[in-house]
Assembly symmetry: C2
Protein backbone atom coordinates (compact mmCIF):
# COMPACT_ATOMS: atom_id res chain seq x y z
CA UNK A 1 0.00 0.00 0.00
CA UNK A 2 1.46 3.31 -1.05
CA UNK A 3 1.34 6.16 1.35
CA UNK A 4 -0.06 9.40 -0.07
CA UNK A 5 0.01 12.97 1.22
CA UNK A 6 -2.98 13.64 3.45
CA UNK A 7 -3.20 9.97 4.40
CA UNK A 8 -4.06 9.68 8.08
CA UNK A 9 -2.74 6.17 8.48
CA UNK A 10 0.38 6.04 10.60
CA UNK A 11 3.47 5.13 8.63
CA UNK A 12 6.00 2.71 10.02
CA UNK A 13 9.35 4.43 10.21
CA UNK A 14 12.87 3.04 10.24
CA UNK A 15 15.94 5.05 11.17
CA UNK A 16 18.98 3.40 9.63
CA UNK A 17 22.03 4.35 11.66
CA UNK A 18 19.64 5.35 14.41
CA UNK A 19 22.28 5.18 17.14
CA UNK A 20 24.06 8.33 15.88
CA UNK A 21 23.26 11.89 16.99
CA UNK A 22 21.02 12.81 14.06
CA UNK A 23 19.31 9.42 13.82
CA UNK A 24 18.74 8.97 17.54
CA UNK A 25 17.48 12.54 17.87
CA UNK A 26 15.09 12.02 14.98
CA UNK A 27 13.86 8.76 16.52
CA UNK A 28 13.20 10.50 19.84
CA UNK A 29 11.35 13.44 18.29
CA UNK A 30 9.22 11.26 15.98
CA UNK A 31 8.29 8.77 18.71
CA UNK A 32 7.46 11.70 20.98
CA UNK A 33 5.16 12.97 18.23
CA UNK A 34 3.27 9.66 18.26
CA UNK A 35 5.03 7.76 15.49
CA UNK A 36 6.12 4.13 15.52
CA UNK A 37 9.86 4.16 14.99
CA UNK A 38 12.29 1.29 14.53
CA UNK A 39 15.94 2.09 15.21
CA UNK A 40 18.28 0.16 12.94
CA UNK A 41 21.94 -0.49 13.61
CA UNK A 42 24.62 -2.72 12.05
CA UNK A 43 24.22 -4.97 15.07
CA UNK A 44 20.62 -5.70 16.10
CA UNK A 45 21.50 -5.62 19.81
CA UNK A 46 22.84 -2.07 19.51
CA UNK A 47 19.62 -1.01 17.79
CA UNK A 48 17.68 -2.64 20.59
CA UNK A 49 19.77 -0.95 23.30
CA UNK A 50 19.28 2.46 21.67
CA UNK A 51 15.51 1.89 21.52
CA UNK A 52 15.46 0.98 25.23
CA UNK A 53 17.46 4.08 26.09
CA UNK A 54 15.09 6.21 23.98
CA UNK A 55 11.95 4.66 25.52
CA UNK A 56 13.33 5.45 28.95
CA UNK A 57 14.07 9.08 28.00
CA UNK A 58 10.55 9.45 26.61
CA UNK A 59 8.88 7.53 29.45
CA UNK A 60 7.26 5.12 27.01
CA UNK A 61 5.63 2.03 28.46
CA UNK A 62 6.36 -1.38 26.99
CA UNK A 63 2.89 -1.62 25.44
CA UNK A 64 1.44 0.50 22.65
CA UNK A 65 0.49 3.98 23.79
CA UNK A 66 -0.67 7.27 22.40
CA UNK A 67 2.87 8.57 22.29
CA UNK A 68 4.27 6.30 19.64
CA UNK A 69 6.77 3.51 20.07
CA UNK A 70 10.46 2.81 19.73
CA UNK A 71 11.90 -0.53 18.70
CA UNK A 72 15.39 -1.60 17.74
CA UNK A 73 16.84 -4.18 15.37
CA UNK A 74 19.32 -4.59 12.52
CA UNK A 75 19.38 -2.09 9.64
CA UNK A 76 18.11 -4.77 7.23
CA UNK A 77 15.16 -5.77 9.39
CA UNK A 78 14.26 -2.17 10.12
CA UNK A 79 14.31 -1.36 6.39
CA UNK A 80 12.24 -4.42 5.51
CA UNK A 81 9.44 -3.53 7.90
CA UNK A 82 8.99 0.17 7.15
CA UNK A 83 7.06 2.50 4.84
CA UNK A 84 9.54 5.30 5.42
CA UNK A 85 13.26 4.77 5.87
CA UNK A 86 15.53 7.54 7.11
CA UNK A 87 19.20 6.91 6.40
CA UNK A 88 21.32 8.83 8.90
CA UNK A 89 24.84 7.46 8.56
CA UNK A 90 28.23 9.14 8.06
CA UNK A 91 29.24 9.58 4.43
CA UNK A 92 32.12 7.10 4.73
CA UNK A 93 29.64 4.29 5.42
CA UNK A 94 26.77 5.46 3.23
CA UNK A 95 27.45 3.29 0.17
CA UNK A 96 27.95 0.13 2.26
CA UNK A 97 24.74 0.76 4.16
CA UNK A 98 22.69 1.20 0.98
CA UNK A 99 24.17 -1.97 -0.48
CA UNK A 100 23.21 -3.80 2.71
CA UNK A 101 19.57 -2.64 2.84
CA UNK A 102 18.55 -2.31 -0.79
CA UNK A 103 17.30 -5.88 -1.13
CA UNK A 104 15.31 -5.49 2.07
CA UNK A 105 13.54 -2.24 1.12
CA UNK A 106 9.87 -2.45 0.23
CA UNK A 107 9.27 -1.65 -3.45
CA UNK A 108 7.16 1.40 -2.55
CA UNK A 109 9.34 2.57 0.34
CA UNK A 110 10.12 6.26 0.73
CA UNK A 111 13.79 6.73 1.61
CA UNK A 112 14.97 9.99 3.15
CA UNK A 113 18.73 10.39 2.90
CA UNK A 114 20.23 12.82 5.42
CA UNK A 115 23.90 12.34 4.52
CA UNK A 116 26.34 15.20 4.08
CA UNK A 117 29.66 14.32 2.44
CA UNK A 118 31.72 15.90 5.23
CA UNK A 119 35.48 15.73 4.74
CA UNK A 120 35.69 13.78 8.02
CA UNK A 121 35.18 10.76 5.74
CA UNK A 122 38.78 11.28 4.59
CA UNK A 123 40.28 12.53 7.84
CA UNK A 124 39.66 16.24 7.19
CA UNK A 125 37.58 18.74 9.21
CA UNK A 126 33.79 18.69 9.54
CA UNK A 127 33.63 22.25 8.19
CA UNK A 128 34.84 20.97 4.82
CA UNK A 129 33.18 18.67 2.31
CA UNK A 130 34.24 16.32 -0.45
CA UNK A 131 32.34 16.07 -3.74
CA UNK A 132 30.74 12.71 -4.48
CA UNK A 133 31.15 11.46 -8.04
CA UNK A 134 27.39 11.81 -8.69
CA UNK A 135 27.41 15.39 -7.36
CA UNK A 136 25.89 14.79 -3.92
CA UNK A 137 25.46 12.05 -1.35
CA UNK A 138 21.77 11.94 -2.27
CA UNK A 139 22.56 11.32 -5.92
CA UNK A 140 25.07 8.67 -4.86
CA UNK A 141 22.24 7.03 -2.91
CA UNK A 142 20.05 7.16 -6.01
CA UNK A 143 22.76 5.42 -8.01
CA UNK A 144 22.86 2.60 -5.44
CA UNK A 145 19.11 2.15 -4.86
CA UNK A 146 16.55 0.25 -6.97
CA UNK A 147 15.02 2.49 -9.64
CA UNK A 148 11.54 2.55 -8.10
CA UNK A 149 12.65 3.65 -4.63
CA UNK A 150 11.12 7.03 -3.82
CA UNK A 151 14.13 9.04 -2.69
CA UNK A 152 14.09 12.35 -0.81
CA UNK A 153 17.08 14.25 0.56
CA UNK A 154 16.77 16.33 3.71
CA UNK A 155 17.49 17.17 7.38
CA UNK A 156 21.15 18.11 6.73
CA UNK A 157 20.58 21.51 8.37
CA UNK A 158 18.79 20.15 11.44
CA UNK A 159 21.07 19.93 14.47
CA UNK A 160 21.41 16.41 15.89
CA UNK A 161 22.28 18.03 19.21
CA UNK A 162 19.04 20.02 19.26
CA UNK A 163 16.96 17.02 18.15
CA UNK A 164 18.16 15.12 21.23
CA UNK A 165 17.57 18.02 23.61
CA UNK A 166 13.87 17.40 24.18
CA UNK A 167 13.58 20.30 26.63
CA UNK A 168 14.19 22.75 23.79
CA UNK A 169 11.92 23.61 20.87
CA UNK A 170 13.26 22.89 17.43
CA UNK A 171 14.26 25.81 15.21
CA UNK A 172 14.92 26.15 11.52
CA UNK A 173 13.56 24.47 8.44
CA UNK A 174 14.00 21.09 6.80
CA UNK A 175 15.02 21.60 3.16
CA UNK A 176 13.79 18.69 1.03
CA UNK A 177 15.10 17.82 -2.43
CA UNK A 178 13.85 15.12 -4.78
CA UNK A 179 12.03 14.26 -7.98
CA UNK A 180 8.91 12.80 -6.28
CA UNK A 181 6.68 15.64 -5.04
CA UNK A 182 4.39 13.30 -3.09
CA UNK A 183 7.33 11.67 -1.34
CA UNK A 184 8.63 15.12 -0.37
CA UNK A 185 5.22 15.98 1.07
CA UNK A 186 5.17 12.70 3.00
CA UNK A 187 8.56 13.37 4.57
CA UNK A 188 7.56 17.00 5.08
CA UNK A 189 4.42 15.93 6.96
CA UNK A 190 6.58 13.83 9.27
CA UNK A 191 8.92 16.78 9.80
CA UNK A 192 5.95 18.96 10.72
CA UNK A 193 4.86 16.47 13.37
CA UNK A 194 7.99 17.55 15.21
CA UNK A 195 6.95 20.67 17.09
CA UNK A 196 8.24 23.93 15.51
CA UNK A 197 9.85 22.21 12.54
CA UNK A 198 8.81 23.39 9.07
CA UNK A 199 9.77 22.10 5.66
CA UNK A 200 10.61 23.80 2.38
CA UNK A 201 10.67 22.25 -1.09
CA UNK A 202 14.20 23.03 -2.29
CA UNK A 203 13.75 21.51 -5.75
CA UNK A 204 15.04 18.42 -7.57
CA UNK A 205 17.44 15.89 -6.08
CA UNK A 206 20.41 17.63 -7.70
CA UNK A 207 19.85 20.64 -5.43
CA UNK A 208 21.24 18.41 -2.68
CA UNK A 209 24.63 19.38 -4.15
CA UNK A 210 24.04 22.80 -2.60
CA UNK A 211 21.94 21.89 0.43
CA UNK A 212 24.14 19.07 1.81
CA UNK A 213 27.28 21.22 2.23
CA UNK A 214 25.28 23.60 4.44
CA UNK A 215 26.05 21.17 7.26
CA UNK A 216 29.69 22.23 6.95
CA UNK A 217 28.74 25.93 7.12
CA UNK A 218 26.70 25.22 10.25
CA UNK A 219 29.64 23.36 11.80
CA UNK A 220 31.77 26.43 11.05
CA UNK A 221 29.16 28.77 12.54
CA UNK A 222 28.79 26.54 15.62
CA UNK A 223 32.56 26.72 16.16
CA UNK A 224 32.77 30.48 15.65
CA UNK A 225 29.92 31.32 18.00
CA UNK A 226 30.44 28.55 20.58
CA UNK A 227 27.07 26.88 20.07
CA UNK A 228 25.90 23.43 18.90
CA UNK A 229 22.49 24.14 17.47
CA UNK A 230 22.92 26.45 14.45
CA UNK A 231 20.29 25.88 11.79
CA UNK A 232 18.86 27.44 8.65
CA UNK A 233 15.48 29.06 8.18
CA UNK A 234 13.94 30.35 4.97
CA UNK A 235 12.54 33.89 4.84
CA UNK A 236 10.14 35.42 2.35
CA UNK A 237 6.92 33.56 3.22
CA UNK A 238 5.02 32.86 6.43
CA UNK A 239 4.11 29.33 5.45
CA UNK A 240 6.09 26.83 3.41
CA UNK A 241 5.32 23.12 2.98
CA UNK A 242 3.90 21.74 -0.27
CA UNK A 243 4.29 24.45 -2.96
CA UNK B 1 43.61 55.73 6.79
CA UNK B 2 42.34 52.26 7.51
CA UNK B 3 38.82 51.83 8.70
CA UNK B 4 38.41 49.79 11.87
CA UNK B 5 35.37 48.16 13.45
CA UNK B 6 33.65 50.57 15.83
CA UNK B 7 34.91 53.55 13.84
CA UNK B 8 32.21 56.19 13.67
CA UNK B 9 33.61 57.90 10.61
CA UNK B 10 31.41 57.41 7.57
CA UNK B 11 33.01 55.25 4.93
CA UNK B 12 32.78 56.17 1.30
CA UNK B 13 31.10 53.34 -0.55
CA UNK B 14 31.23 52.31 -4.20
CA UNK B 15 28.83 49.86 -5.81
CA UNK B 16 30.50 48.42 -8.89
CA UNK B 17 27.79 47.26 -11.28
CA UNK B 18 25.38 49.41 -9.29
CA UNK B 19 22.79 49.54 -12.07
CA UNK B 20 21.79 45.86 -11.60
CA UNK B 21 19.07 44.64 -9.24
CA UNK B 22 21.34 43.70 -6.34
CA UNK B 23 23.68 46.67 -6.71
CA UNK B 24 20.99 49.29 -7.21
CA UNK B 25 18.98 47.87 -4.32
CA UNK B 26 22.03 47.94 -2.07
CA UNK B 27 22.78 51.53 -3.12
CA UNK B 28 19.22 52.58 -2.27
CA UNK B 29 19.19 50.89 1.12
CA UNK B 30 22.63 52.18 2.12
CA UNK B 31 21.92 55.76 1.03
CA UNK B 32 18.59 55.59 2.85
CA UNK B 33 20.55 54.53 5.95
CA UNK B 34 22.65 57.69 5.70
CA UNK B 35 25.67 56.45 3.77
CA UNK B 36 27.46 58.18 0.90
CA UNK B 37 27.24 55.83 -2.04
CA UNK B 38 28.80 56.08 -5.49
CA UNK B 39 27.16 53.94 -8.18
CA UNK B 40 29.67 52.66 -10.70
CA UNK B 41 28.86 51.43 -14.18
CA UNK B 42 30.91 50.55 -17.27
CA UNK B 43 29.71 53.82 -18.75
CA UNK B 44 29.89 56.82 -16.40
CA UNK B 45 26.66 58.29 -17.80
CA UNK B 46 24.73 55.14 -16.90
CA UNK B 47 26.10 55.29 -13.37
CA UNK B 48 25.06 58.92 -13.20
CA UNK B 49 21.55 58.16 -14.52
CA UNK B 50 21.09 55.37 -11.94
CA UNK B 51 22.17 57.72 -9.15
CA UNK B 52 19.64 60.35 -10.31
CA UNK B 53 16.90 57.76 -10.43
CA UNK B 54 17.85 56.54 -6.96
CA UNK B 55 17.98 60.06 -5.51
CA UNK B 56 14.50 60.68 -6.86
CA UNK B 57 13.18 57.44 -5.34
CA UNK B 58 14.70 58.37 -1.99
CA UNK B 59 13.71 62.05 -2.21
CA UNK B 60 17.32 63.12 -1.68
CA UNK B 61 18.10 66.79 -2.32
CA UNK B 62 21.05 67.75 -4.46
CA UNK B 63 23.01 68.96 -1.43
CA UNK B 64 24.37 66.88 1.43
CA UNK B 65 21.67 65.82 3.87
CA UNK B 66 21.21 63.58 6.85
CA UNK B 67 19.99 60.77 4.66
CA UNK B 68 23.19 60.03 2.79
CA UNK B 69 23.96 60.69 -0.82
CA UNK B 70 23.98 58.94 -4.17
CA UNK B 71 26.42 59.71 -6.95
CA UNK B 72 27.20 57.97 -10.20
CA UNK B 73 30.32 57.52 -12.32
CA UNK B 74 32.46 54.88 -14.03
CA UNK B 75 33.43 51.70 -12.19
CA UNK B 76 37.08 52.78 -12.13
CA UNK B 77 36.38 56.22 -10.67
CA UNK B 78 33.95 54.81 -8.13
CA UNK B 79 36.55 52.24 -7.02
CA UNK B 80 39.31 54.85 -6.81
CA UNK B 81 37.34 57.10 -4.49
CA UNK B 82 36.01 54.60 -1.95
CA UNK B 83 36.94 52.90 1.29
CA UNK B 84 34.50 50.08 0.69
CA UNK B 85 33.80 48.63 -2.74
CA UNK B 86 30.86 46.29 -3.34
CA UNK B 87 31.17 44.30 -6.55
CA UNK B 88 27.70 43.27 -7.74
CA UNK B 89 28.14 42.03 -11.29
CA UNK B 90 27.04 38.83 -13.05
CA UNK B 91 29.59 36.03 -12.95
CA UNK B 92 30.22 36.19 -16.72
CA UNK B 93 31.62 39.72 -16.33
CA UNK B 94 33.25 39.35 -12.92
CA UNK B 95 36.83 38.70 -14.07
CA UNK B 96 36.77 41.58 -16.59
CA UNK B 97 35.42 43.97 -13.98
CA UNK B 98 38.12 43.08 -11.45
CA UNK B 99 40.83 43.51 -14.11
CA UNK B 100 39.37 46.93 -14.93
CA UNK B 101 39.26 48.25 -11.34
CA UNK B 102 42.22 46.62 -9.63
CA UNK B 103 44.67 49.40 -10.47
CA UNK B 104 42.18 51.97 -9.25
CA UNK B 105 41.47 50.36 -5.85
CA UNK B 106 42.95 52.03 -2.78
CA UNK B 107 45.62 49.84 -1.15
CA UNK B 108 43.57 49.54 2.04
CA UNK B 109 40.19 49.17 0.34
CA UNK B 110 37.72 46.60 1.61
CA UNK B 111 36.12 44.78 -1.31
CA UNK B 112 32.86 42.89 -0.80
CA UNK B 113 32.21 40.45 -3.62
CA UNK B 114 28.55 39.44 -4.00
CA UNK B 115 28.92 37.25 -7.10
CA UNK B 116 27.30 33.85 -7.47
CA UNK B 117 28.55 31.68 -10.36
CA UNK B 118 25.04 31.07 -11.72
CA UNK B 119 24.87 28.85 -14.79
CA UNK B 120 23.23 31.76 -16.65
CA UNK B 121 26.84 32.73 -17.43
CA UNK B 122 26.88 29.80 -19.88
CA UNK B 123 23.28 29.94 -21.05
CA UNK B 124 21.89 27.58 -18.41
CA UNK B 125 19.22 28.20 -15.73
CA UNK B 126 19.61 30.49 -12.72
CA UNK B 127 18.80 27.58 -10.39
CA UNK B 128 22.04 25.90 -11.45
CA UNK B 129 25.65 26.92 -10.86
CA UNK B 130 29.02 26.34 -12.46
CA UNK B 131 32.17 25.76 -10.41
CA UNK B 132 34.91 28.38 -10.79
CA UNK B 133 38.43 27.01 -11.11
CA UNK B 134 39.42 28.50 -7.73
CA UNK B 135 36.35 26.93 -6.05
CA UNK B 136 34.13 30.00 -5.79
CA UNK B 137 33.61 33.38 -7.41
CA UNK B 138 35.06 34.97 -4.27
CA UNK B 139 38.26 32.95 -4.56
CA UNK B 140 38.41 33.85 -8.26
CA UNK B 141 38.19 37.50 -7.18
CA UNK B 142 41.03 36.93 -4.74
CA UNK B 143 43.17 35.47 -7.52
CA UNK B 144 42.60 38.61 -9.61
CA UNK B 145 43.00 41.27 -6.90
CA UNK B 146 46.19 42.74 -5.42
CA UNK B 147 47.42 40.72 -2.44
CA UNK B 148 46.72 43.42 0.13
CA UNK B 149 43.08 43.98 -0.85
CA UNK B 150 40.85 43.10 2.08
CA UNK B 151 38.30 40.79 0.49
CA UNK B 152 34.96 39.71 1.95
CA UNK B 153 32.28 37.61 0.27
CA UNK B 154 28.61 38.16 1.06
CA UNK B 155 25.04 39.24 0.22
CA UNK B 156 24.41 36.29 -2.14
CA UNK B 157 21.31 35.30 -0.17
CA UNK B 158 19.85 38.82 -0.02
CA UNK B 159 17.09 39.36 -2.58
CA UNK B 160 17.80 42.18 -5.05
CA UNK B 161 14.05 42.47 -5.52
CA UNK B 162 13.47 43.01 -1.80
CA UNK B 163 16.39 45.45 -1.52
CA UNK B 164 14.70 47.69 -4.11
CA UNK B 165 11.25 47.45 -2.52
CA UNK B 166 11.76 50.18 0.06
CA UNK B 167 8.22 49.83 1.39
CA UNK B 168 9.08 46.40 2.79
CA UNK B 169 11.39 45.51 5.65
CA UNK B 170 14.38 43.37 4.84
CA UNK B 171 14.41 39.76 6.01
CA UNK B 172 17.14 37.19 6.39
CA UNK B 173 20.82 37.32 7.16
CA UNK B 174 23.94 38.33 5.30
CA UNK B 175 26.46 35.48 5.43
CA UNK B 176 30.01 36.84 5.28
CA UNK B 177 33.10 34.80 4.39
CA UNK B 178 36.71 35.94 4.42
CA UNK B 179 40.12 35.75 6.05
CA UNK B 180 40.05 39.30 7.49
CA UNK B 181 37.86 39.38 10.61
CA UNK B 182 37.95 43.17 10.86
CA UNK B 183 36.92 43.56 7.22
CA UNK B 184 34.01 41.18 7.84
CA UNK B 185 32.93 43.27 10.83
CA UNK B 186 33.16 46.45 8.72
CA UNK B 187 30.94 45.01 6.00
CA UNK B 188 28.70 43.52 8.69
CA UNK B 189 28.28 46.94 10.32
CA UNK B 190 27.18 48.37 6.98
CA UNK B 191 24.71 45.49 6.55
CA UNK B 192 23.28 46.22 9.99
CA UNK B 193 22.65 49.84 9.03
CA UNK B 194 20.01 48.45 6.69
CA UNK B 195 16.94 48.04 8.87
CA UNK B 196 16.22 44.40 9.88
CA UNK B 197 19.33 43.01 8.20
CA UNK B 198 21.69 40.93 10.36
CA UNK B 199 25.04 39.39 9.52
CA UNK B 200 26.66 36.07 10.39
CA UNK B 201 30.33 35.14 10.16
CA UNK B 202 30.27 32.05 7.93
CA UNK B 203 34.02 31.39 8.13
CA UNK B 204 36.99 31.66 5.77
CA UNK B 205 36.76 32.77 2.13
CA UNK B 206 36.62 29.14 0.95
CA UNK B 207 33.20 28.78 2.61
CA UNK B 208 31.93 30.93 -0.26
CA UNK B 209 32.02 27.65 -2.23
CA UNK B 210 28.97 26.65 -0.19
CA UNK B 211 27.35 30.03 0.45
CA UNK B 212 27.40 31.37 -3.14
CA UNK B 213 25.34 28.50 -4.63
CA UNK B 214 22.57 29.27 -2.13
CA UNK B 215 21.45 31.93 -4.60
CA UNK B 216 20.50 29.09 -6.97
CA UNK B 217 18.50 27.34 -4.22
CA UNK B 218 16.68 30.62 -3.52
CA UNK B 219 15.93 31.03 -7.24
CA UNK B 220 14.49 27.50 -7.18
CA UNK B 221 12.43 28.25 -4.05
CA UNK B 222 11.18 31.54 -5.55
CA UNK B 223 10.01 29.66 -8.64
CA UNK B 224 8.33 26.85 -6.67
CA UNK B 225 6.44 29.16 -4.34
CA UNK B 226 5.74 32.02 -6.76
CA UNK B 227 7.66 34.67 -4.81
CA UNK B 228 10.70 36.88 -5.49
CA UNK B 229 12.07 37.52 -2.05
CA UNK B 230 13.21 34.19 -0.57
CA UNK B 231 16.14 34.55 1.79
CA UNK B 232 18.11 32.64 4.40
CA UNK B 233 18.19 33.21 8.13
CA UNK B 234 20.37 31.48 10.71
CA UNK B 235 18.77 29.93 13.79
CA UNK B 236 20.38 28.93 17.07
CA UNK B 237 21.24 32.34 18.51
CA UNK B 238 19.30 35.55 19.07
CA UNK B 239 22.21 37.77 18.09
CA UNK B 240 24.92 37.16 15.53
CA UNK B 241 27.43 39.72 14.24
CA UNK B 242 31.09 39.63 15.30
CA UNK B 243 31.74 36.24 16.96
Amino acid sequence: MTWAAGDDRTMSIAIIGGTGDEGFGLALRLAKAGEDVMIGSRAAERGHAAAERGAEILGLGSGAGTRGSLGGTSNEEAAAGSDVVFVTVPYAGQADIYRSIKEALRPDAIVCDTTTPLATAVGRPAWQVVTPWEGSAAEQAKALLPKQTRLVSGFQTVSGHLLQDLERDMQGDVLLCGADAEAKSAIGSLAEKIHHLRWVDAGPLSMARIVEPLTAVLVSVNRSYGIKVAGISLTGRDRWGTP
